[in-house]
Subunit: 290 residues, 2 copies
């Protein structure tokens, strides 16, 4: 496995690869890899000849009071996991090589980023879109895989690829869950043993919503009320948002007649967790007890 | 010459070209081609195997009271000029194929776009950067040529290519001028015979500034005062801005010790014209009577 540390070397590798007619599959990550990330790598492998994984804790997508500095960076472990998956290139640049001090160009969105996580994390998606645009131009992928876990991010990236005509395909991968249903996340390692149990309230609430939907409920208000009621039973849980939105526009809906997304952000202690459920087709969200 | 009307066909052509190992040179234009544009095409030819010219009057870079609808679109003439120059592909998309109705992704700049034309044309450079990013992703050039005539635009594009890591090179081409010194511009055709004569006040003012610089003047204030005084002698001329800025940051400077740009925007009647001079090296601005 080739470990590349600078943008210019990454781009040179990608251009050489392209000249040889090989298809590049790309999985961008912030490291602290878990089985969810590895499932993205395996999915990429099915669509490409060469696989690039990037590990870059992107400073521009963290707010001033967020966890940028304490975000876990277990590089040696991540390296070994990528090696074991047969990744061709691990791209691991420094913030200094990625961002000029006088940087001033940004990619941003004016519609899909305003609600959900965008409302509680101002500037977050501007940072995400900018760094992903940069990574696409450096890795030159034919296909790039994003996880449904970050549902809003995935839809923003798909929108960016369409709007800016990036010459690549985005594939979404299902949420991977722990055996008890908790959605896998690098931030789960922040949880204490008690918080780890409390964190199950997210997936439990989504299962309740799914069951109400299966029983014929098509009005958003009682579903949201049921979600909030369940979450309120966990005293360490502080709801950031509970939203039922159109799956394309991410605007709130009152009725569940078109494809919709139920999205949650909940703080368990100091750790902010997210999870979601797509309806009518919940496949990508892989809730337990289907 | 191949005329391509849709983004998907343009991208497919570019990808096929890339697979064959050919270098693509790209000249983006809004059409109404003049000798200045053709000089960009010839410069592109020196750096590439295949030449793409785009003609797209981009609606998102015009303000609500600007000349989008009346901007000249002499397509048959433009087509003949491109054909005569040996252009390989003329890309001529419609606004409808370029922009989805629910587009929401934008490229913008937070530093170089705030002054000069950016101050008088709010949103203009956001539209420019977004469409150029789209065109780069559709045409996949190895090299793209921009004219020094639009000095601020050229520096913004160079900054975007650096900041977003586009895998291509930007080359700036010198301003082309009419025999009497007027900078060539598609908008010159708006000028009446009298206005055409009055329009010479821009290049004359720049020549005066250059002469003061040659005589040792290094303080911005008297140079700007001299420019304004000269422009005020033409009664049909209404100054939009006269600025002396650092050539990299585009921020106003008080002294001419580092590379600087003198930039003008002046309305002659209803027609807004721009021109500029780089110091100490004025080569790209090709003022007369050097």
């Amino acid at each position: 496995m080739n470990i590349i540390h600078t943008p210019s070397e990454m781009q040179a590798w990608a251009q050489a690869c392209r000249r040889q007619g090989q298809r590049i599959g790309f999985v961008p990550t912030m490291g602290c890899l878990h089985a969810g990330h590895l499932s993205l790598v395996r999915l990429a492998r099915r669509h490409a000849d060469r696989i690039v994984v990037s590990i870059f804790v992107n400073p521009t997508q963290f707010g001033p009071h967020e966890d940028f500095s304490r975000y876990p960076r277990p590089f040696e472990n991540d390296r070994a996991l990528c090696e074991a998956e047969g990744v061709d290139v691990l791209f691991h640049p420094s913030p200094e090589t990625m961002y000029a001090q006088d940087r001033s160009t940004w990619v941003d969105d004016s519609a899909l980023s305003t609600g959900l996580c965008g409302a509680s994390r101002p500037g977050h998606f501007k940072g995400v879109l900018t760094v992903v645009a940069k990574l696409f131009n450096l890795v030159l992928p034919d296909v790039s895989i994003f996880g449904q876990k970050d549902a809003q991010q995935a839809r923003l990236i798909q929108r960016m690829v369409r709007d800016l005509n990036f010459p690549l395909e985005i594939i979404l991968a299902p949420i991977l869950r722990e055996p008890d249903g908790l959605a896998m996340s690098s931030r789960n390692i922040y949880l204490s043993a008690t918080e780890r149990k409390d964190a199950l309230c997210l997936v439990q609430a989504l299962c309740l919503a799914r069951d109400r939907y299966r029983n014929g409920e098509r009005t958003a208000a009682p579903i949201i009320a049921g979600l909030r009621r369940h979450l309120s039973e966990t005293s360490s849980a502080a709801v950031d948002y509970v939203a039922l939105v159109d799956d394309v526009t991410l605007q709130p809906v009152e009725r569940l007649d078109a494809p919709a997304l139920i999205a949650l952000a909940v703080r368990i202690g100091k750790t902010r967790l997210i999870d979601n459920l797509m309806l009518p087709d919940p496949t990508l969200c892989s809730l337990p007890m289907n």
